[in-house]
């Protein structure tokens, strides 16, 4: 709320300055229109989503309903529990649209629709409420179901718009959404009110149990290995389980692809991007210090009082992420050749591989393949662990602010890139790229030094670990640089640019900051 209000105040201030100076405002350009109308509208809508779903205090990745449990004891019917927040939310969203439509300066020549955007926004809110209040059988399922279903509604509306559908048609699609969402929400709250939380974790546990450390009948080698097992059991199985669930649905499309080379490669790319994509969602749970606790962001005394250093607690999470990534990728690497062979599409892939080999030469083609594969695997692991430095702080305000910042970045990035592209400044951007990368690399190294000093001063890691970590990072950067120089042997790309890319690619600051974040949480 503070963020939205601050944004609106800053925006109002800018508008006042612009008006006071008598500078004309051209809303014809997408950038200024986005800045003046769409960004405040979208950020207020996002805030309404969070407020009316009670999502600001809940854990999205948890299986339990996000509806506040204390309200279950109110002497009101389940119908009222589901109905009133939905009614208030829908009313607020519809009023937001009507106010925007009436008061905002719209570019001339645009026929601004009257009702359906309000209904679309209200439908999205109602479904978000229903799906976040629903108890789920698996951790993280809420995020995936919600993203897919909201994406479906949004895509349907966009397709209808693309074909210039009439307002009456849009109303026909969107009007039933709110009552449907209400029925689902009522069902969800009725289940949650009775404490019904389905649990399928046991069924999927067997998928990922084999070959992984378990204490059955034996002793752990060390406290650190016990904690790694704890983390694996708590968070590690989500990613492989989700990949195992999605993989058959993706690979079965190979049978439908037939001889279409582009379709086969599109499916393969989708399969290869599945682990990093799922890891983005799984990371929300991994970063959470304690999903069992009332304060899901703080660390539980049980974990905080383990006789382990803070670095060992973080190390257990990193090891868990490595295991999780390896298992997920084993599933991918085993199933792809089998599916290609059985679907009869292997020949297409081998043919393309033959072409690449002829074009680049065998060694470069093999190295390129391995680098691409290693990149995908590393990206999966990075997705799992890169937000630890925020999540492990245990500060709800910081975590929510970081989500808001990331969303804000995406809101700004699109129009900014479009502006660069439309104004013919892509060449300038390309020329400035080395400078931009150099500034980013310098910022990264400065932050790394600051984190290193904090780690040293607070004795969060041993001197040996600090030196070894720095050495490993340097070796990895130089290895990647060497591979890039060898692969991209062209005078058009200067070597220092490749070095900057290598520096920026290999994770350092966010990983190093994780022990500092956890120490801040553990010793408040």
């Amino acid at each position: 709320m503070i963020g939205v209000v601050a944004y609106l105040i800053v925006l109002a201030g800018i508008k006042l300055v612009v008006i006071a100076r008598g500078v004309p405002i051209y809303l014809g350009s997408p950038e200024s229109f986005a800045f003046v109308v769409m960004a405040p509208l979208v950020s207020t809508f996002t805030y309404f989503l969070a407020v009316f779903t009670f999502g600001l205090d809940g854990d999205l990745a948890a299986r339990q309903s996000m509806f506040p449990a204390r309200r279950f004891t109110l002497p009101v019917t389940t119908t009222a529990l589901a109905g009133w927040p939905m009614l208030y939310g829908s009313a607020a969203i519809i009023l937001l649209w009507l106010a925007t439509r009436t008061l905002a300066l719209w570019p001339s020549g645009i026929a601004v629709p009257s009702i359906w955007p309000a209904l679309l926004a209200a439908s999205l809110l109602a479904w978000t409420q229903a799906l976040t209040w629903m108890p789920y059988p698996l951790p993280g399922l809420r995020i995936i179901v919600t993203v897919l279903w909201l994406g479906t509604i949004d895509t349907t509306a966009l397709i209808a718009l693309h074909f210039n559908a009439r307002e009456s048609f849009m109303l026909g699609i969107l009007a039933p959404q709110i009552p449907l969402a209400y029925i689902v929400a009522r069902f969800a709250i009725a289940r949650a009110r009775c404490g019904e939380v389905p649990d399928w974790r046991g069924a999927f546990a067997s998928l990922t149990r084999t070959g992984l450390p378990a204490p059955e009948g034996g002793r752990f080698r060390s406290p650190a290995s016990a904690q790694a097992w704890f983390e694996w059991r708590r968070y590690g199985r989500s990613l492989p389980a989700w990949v195992a669930i999605l993989l058959p649905f993706e690979l079965v499309l190979l049978w439908a692809a037939g001889d279409s080379r582009s379709l086969v490669f599109t499916i393969l790319i989708a399969v290869l991007l599945t682990p990093p994509f799922i890891a983005m969602f799984a990371a929300a749970a991994v970063s959470t210090s304690s999903p069992d606790a009332g304060d899901s962001y703080g660390i539980t005394p049980f974990v905080a009082t383990r006789p382990l250093t803070t670095a060992e607690l973080v190390g257990a999470k990193l090891k868990m992420a490595i295991r999780s990534t390896v298992v997920a990728w084993l599933l991918i690497l085993i199933s792809i050749p089998i599916a290609l062979d059985l679907s009869g599409t292997l020949a297409l892939v081998l043919d393309r591989w033959h072409g690449v080999r002829l074009f680049m030469g065998m060694p470069r083609a093999v190295v390129l393949l391995l680098v691409a594969l290693a990149g995908c695997i590393a990206l999966t692991w990075t997705q799992l662990v890169q937000s630890l430095y925020i999540g492990l702080t245990g500060r709800a305000s910081l975590i929510k602010a970081s989500v808001f910042l990331v969303l804000g970045f995406f809101f700004v990035f699109g129009p900014f890139f479009e502006w660069i592209s439309d104004s013919g400044r892509l060449g300038e951007l390309w020329s400035a790229l080395p400078l931009i990368l150099a500034v980013l690399a310098a910022a990264k190294m400065t932050a790394a030094v600051w984190i290193g000093v904090r780690l040293y001063q607070k004795r969060l890691v041993s001197d040996r670990t600090l030196v070894t970590g720095a050495a490993v990072w340097c070796v990895t950067v130089f290895t990647l640089y060497g591979v890039l120089v060898w692969l991209l042997d062209t005078p058009h790309i200067p070597h220092y640019l490749l070095m900057l890319i290598a520096i920026l690619t290999i994770p350092l600051v966010r990983l190093s900051a994780a022990p500092v974040a956890l120490a801040w949480n553990r010793h408040r």
């Binding site: 974790r201 204490p215 034996g218 002793r219 752990f220 060390s222 406290p223 290995s225 016990a226 097992w229 704890f230 059991r233 708590r234 304690s290 069992d292 606790a293 539980t300 005394p301 049980f302 905080a304 009082t305 383990r306 006789p307 382990l308 250093t309 803070t310 004795r459 553990r522 010793h523 408040r524």
Partner: protein
Amino acid sequence: MTQVSAPVIDVTKLTRRFDSRTALDAVTLSIPRGAVYGLVGANGAGKTTLIKHILGLLRAQSGSVRVFGLDPVADPVGVLSRIGYLSEENDLPGWMRVDELIRYSRAFHPAWDDEYAEELGQSFALEPGAKIKTLSKGQKARVGILIALAYRPDLLVLDEPSSGLDPIVRRDILGAIIRTIAHEGRTVLFSSHLLEEVEQVADHVTMINKGKIVLSAPLAEIREAHTVGGRVPSLDEIFIARVGMSAAAASES
């Protein structure tokens, strides 16, 4: 000449504020080795805040905390590996089975005594294959006591362990404290607002009210000092008298 051993817990002028509220106000406390300390106070008096400082879960804003001569924030391994801890919250991971929790906890403590753990498990009638989340509150408390005691910690810290539990479980917890005392040199810090329990086991009582220590002395001395006309008052009566005096003094100032 008798050699005086260093205190197990040494808290000096510890002050802690949460925003504008002072949770601990220049608290000084020294607990010698082998003592059974009862920490008593009303809800919100600062008992849990003090215990969290001893465990290193809170960093001293001013003053110092030393446990076994170590700073629990700077050296969590050195301190926590010698402490058995059971809290009122009892936040044991619900997804673990009892036997998994025992195996997991054993990994952190080389001195873990399997026979003792087995004995405790049997006396508490714990089902090894049961998931923690399916256990009753009393059974969870018993599991918590088992993993806090099975490595015979040098210091046992119990933060309102019997709050909301039935008399049988409370008896088990008191029994566990007595077992710990039976091992020479082990120290117990027992926080509770159930004063009759503290009376049964503590040999030293520290009363805390609104973040300040209002009384800290051996139990026998406290009773003797408050005896009026040959009648020995209960700890409840002493506590009410002390806290009442403290509240009156605060309102006067």
